[in-house]
């Protein structure tokens, strides 16, 4: 089993190194003529004014929140799905109850209107 993980470790390192090399090549062969005008922030031709870090919509936060909860749900469901063949018939119902309880949360969020884009 560990040889598989050694392979994955090697692969992850290769997957970092190859893009890194690709990004580093132009450092040596590309021209470098920096100027203030060039390094300005692009904003459709006008100069950038005021605070760059604009106010962030709290709507996005709600999406991330619901995603977190459903992410956790899936880590319970994956072992359930794998083990289903070796479990008694009742285990399906247990899993379904689990899903339905969390589904209520989604319905609640819908009812409260936090999912609608405003």
């Amino acid at each position: 089993m560990l040889t598989n993980w050694v392979y994955i470790g090697v692969f992850l390192i290769v997957a970092v190194v190859v893009p890194l090399v690709a990004v580093l090549i132009p450092v040596f062969i590309a021209p470098k003529k920096p100027s203030t005008r060039k390094e300005e922030i692009y904003e459709c031709g006008i100069e950038t004014k005021g605070n760059i870090r604009i106010q962030f919509k709290s709507q996005y936060y709600i999406y991330a929140l619901i995603f977190l909860i459903f992410d956790i749900e899936t880590i319970f469901l994956f072992p359930w799905a794998v083990a289903l063949g070796n479990l008694p018939l009742f285990a399906v119902i247990e899993g379904v109850i689990f899903i339905v309880i969390l589904f209520a949360g989604l319905v609640y969020a819908m009812r409260k209107g936090v999912l609608a884009w405003s």
Binding site: A15, V23, Y60, W117
Partner: protein
């Protein structure tokens, strides 16, 4: 001769052992060679895909596409590569340099790393781990992170706006994607990709068409190309979270996007189209590799076709599609498939009855969901704006 891949593997291994290398080190070197090979093949495929995609886009939009560099413009991608390697890097003023430079590498990494676990043929599997499916889902997290880093560190209002929009959208669409991936796991009773591929009798797309549909739509949204490309809607957000990137750093985002679409094709092939399986693939594993890449390429073309035909959808439509349609329907599908699978396992039915029942259940859910959705759909309110005042030169206003 039957097994070409093993033959080459053993040949290299014997050479290494002949040099006095220990067994474990030889295996390690083989692993390094294998992973480098897979990564290089990915890059080469992307170079080819960029040409194919541009040619296809040209034909669909009644243009020629690239046709200058070489016959049919096949050297266009190479010309682009030379250009992009010699372009100057511009770092915008006020950017956070560390994060700004890590982000493109991370974006590429998040797509490449998925290829570590793919089964290419019957005995050609990279990392055949017990948690393969979850690994694929988990690696996607780094892509989201890369977008967030790029958007934040660019010090550009539009980049940040686009990054936060993209991330909100990507994580929303990840929920139906994960739930629909649970269906093949459930049918194979394993998270090992090799087992999922071998358990498909017939292909999962016939057993679980609804899950395939949901996975297809949500992973198209994950790729972030049209019709789901509103994160880089040129008319609204300049060019998306990579507005401030230039040269190869931009190139990494670009290549990652193409490779991601190809990877989605590979995932579709593995989970729903039987991966490497096909006639004679067990006897000649090299054929399995061809089947795998062929199916992947087919799905890639289908996705390209869809995205070149559809207009971009609005962000509210997009979020409604996800939260009000895809997520509920994927949960209902999961519950139905789980119950049907377990009950039919209990009665030990013939395989063909199992498949037919599963197929009918899937179609039934889809039809019911579409009917309900149509009934609940509010009539689109047409907003009529009063005519805007026309600009007149100062001093000549009416009244």
């Amino acid at each position: 001769m039957a097994d070409l891949i093993n033959l080459i593997e053993n040949w290299i291994k014997n050479i290494l052992l002949g040099w006095g290398v220990t067994e474990s080190l030889a295996v390690f070197i083989l692993q390094v060679l294998g992973s480098v090979l897979v990564v290089i093949v990915c890059f080469v495929i992307v170079i080819a895909l960029i040409w194919v995609e541009r040619k296809l886009a040209g034909r669909i939009q009644d243009r020629f596409g690239p046709n200058r560099a070489g016959p049919y413009g096949i050297f266009q991608s190479f010309a682009d590569i030379i250009k992009i390697f010699t372009k100057e890097y511009i770092t915008p003023v006020g950017a956070e340099k560390g994060l700004f430079n890590i982000a493109p590498v991370l974006a590429m990494f998040s797509v490449l790393a998925i290829w570590a676990v793919f089964p290419f043929a019957i005995n050609v599997v990279g990392g055949d781990i017990h948690v393969g499916v979850l690994y694929i889902v988990a690696i996607g997290a780094f892509g989201i992170l890369a977008i967030l880093m790029a958007g934040w560190s660019s010090n550009n209002r539009y980049a940040l706006l686009s990054a936060s929009r993209s991330v909100a959208m990507l994580i929303s669409y990840e929920i139906p994607m994960i739930i629909s991936l649970l269906v093949p796991v459930l049918l194979a009773h394993s998270m090992k990709l090799s087992v999922i591929v071998e358990a498909q009798m017939p292909w999962n797309i016939f057993v679980a068409p609804l899950a395939a549909l949901i996975f297809g739509i949500s992973s198209m949204a994950e790729v972030g190309k049209a019709p789901f490309d509103l994160l880089e809607a040129e008319s609204e957000l300049v060019a998306g979270y990579h507005t401030e990137y230039s040269g190869m750093k931009f190139g990494m985002f670009y290549v990652a996007e193409f490779l991601h679409q190809f990877t989605v094709g590979a995932l579709m092939a593995i989970f729903f189209l039987g991966g490497w399986t096909g006639p004679l693939a067990v006897r000649w594993p090299i054929l399995g590799v061809f089947y795998f890449y062929g199916k992947t390429f087919f799905i890639y073309l289908v996705i390209s076709w869809i995205r070149l035909s559809l207009p971009r959808i609005r962000i509210d439509e997009m979020l409604n599609l996800n939260w009000r349609f895809l997520i509920p329907i994927s949960f209902i599908n999961l519950i139905a498939v789980a119950i049907a699978d377990r009950v039919m396992l209990e009665f030990n039915l013939a395989r063909w009855i199992y498949v037919v029942v599963m197929f009918l259940i899937n179609i039934l859910i889809l039809v019911a969901a579409l009917t309900i959705a149509e009934k609940n759909e509010k009539a689109v309110e047409r907003v009529e704006f009063s005519p805007r005042p026309i600009a007149v030169p100062p001093g000549k206003e009416s009244k």
